[in-house]
């Protein structure tokens, strides 16, 4: 919606009715389907969640796979916008930094009548 169609990005659905072996298989299939040897980033929700745990295991066995947890839109946008220009470590650091800067709240004292 913000950037328009993107290439080389897949989503893996996890229902919560599945065990780890099923999720592991689905994630591996997606990684293979990307046909990418330069590097693949798996982005998951929380540290310690099943998607994170499975991605962690895969990244230890398949070297080009890296993991970021704590997905949010600014983080994802940073990756999609910069992935052609940056080296892997640079891209990951930049994405995490964007993700961290991308959350906050509207302070009540800055609102009219607040």
């Amino acid at each position: 919606m913000i950037l328009g169609p993107q290439e080389k990005i897949l989503t893996v659905d996890f229902s919560g009715e599945e065990g780890l072996p099923q999720l592991h298989e689905k994630l591996l299939k997606a990684i293979v389907a990307l046909e990418e040897t330069n590097g693949i980033i798996v982005i998951t929700d929380v540290l310690g969640g099943s998607p994170f745990n499975v991605a962690n295991l895969i990244s230890r066995k398949i070297k080009p796979v890296r993991v970021i947890y704590g997905i949010n839109l600014p983080l994802l946008l940073e990756i999609l916008l910069r992935r052609k220009d940056f080296e892997m470590d640079e891209l990951i650091n930049s994405a995490i930094s964007s993700g961290q800067k991308g959350i906050g709240t509207i302070r009540t004292d800055t609102r009219e009548g607040g």
């Binding site: 540290l47 310690g48 099943s50 962690n56």
Partner: protein, 160 residues
């Protein structure tokens, strides 16, 4: 030391356990009891990484766990025990470890299992073990996450 939750979950430490149950119970110590996990260096590394900060993790074989209980050497003040296999819980109880309530929230589908609830798939063998646990005084509750309602597991099975 107080055992605040005994959980049967094939995913061991994941979102529901690492985040929801740990927060709600205020546990400071997670203990995974599984021969398979305790003898697998890779699994141990992964489990360590899945534990929230401020909570400690111990990974034990069933034999080690029984020993620690008998010698009253279980660390932590509020403890969550996590098992992967019902038979391991039965071994513990048969060795004299007291488990008044077992929380079941992660038994996933396999061809030999029948699905009773979202995360309650049981084989005939699993049911036999649960019946033995019940006979030994263990209350069996199905509750995936803290905000879900509790259901009596044997009633769920009987209703089929």
């Amino acid at each position: 030391m107080k055992i605040c939750l005994v959980r049967l979950d094939e995913r061991l430490i994941h979102g529901q356990v690492a985040i929801a149950w740990t927060r709600v119970t205020g546990a400071d110590q997670l203990i995974v009891i599984s021969d398979e996990a305790a003898n697998d260096e890779m699994q141990k590394v992964l489990l360590e990484m899945a534990v929230p900060s401020g909570t400690k993790l111990l990974i034990l074989t069933v034999k080690e766990a029984v020993g620690k209980f008998k010698q009253e050497q279980i660390p932590g003040t509020k403890v969550i025990l996590v098992f992967k296999k019902p038979e391991d819980i039965l071994k513990m109880v048969q060795e004299g470890v007291s488990i008044p309530v077992l929380n079941i929230g992660g038994m996933y589908y396999r061809p030999e299992r029948k699905q009773y609830r979202k995360a309650l798939c049981l084989s005939e063998e699993d049911i036999q073990i649960l019946n033995k646990l019940y006979a030994l005084g263990v209350k069996l509750e199905y509750q995936v996450a803290p905000m879900n309602n509790k259901e009596d597991v044997l009633n769920i099975i009987k209703a089929r």
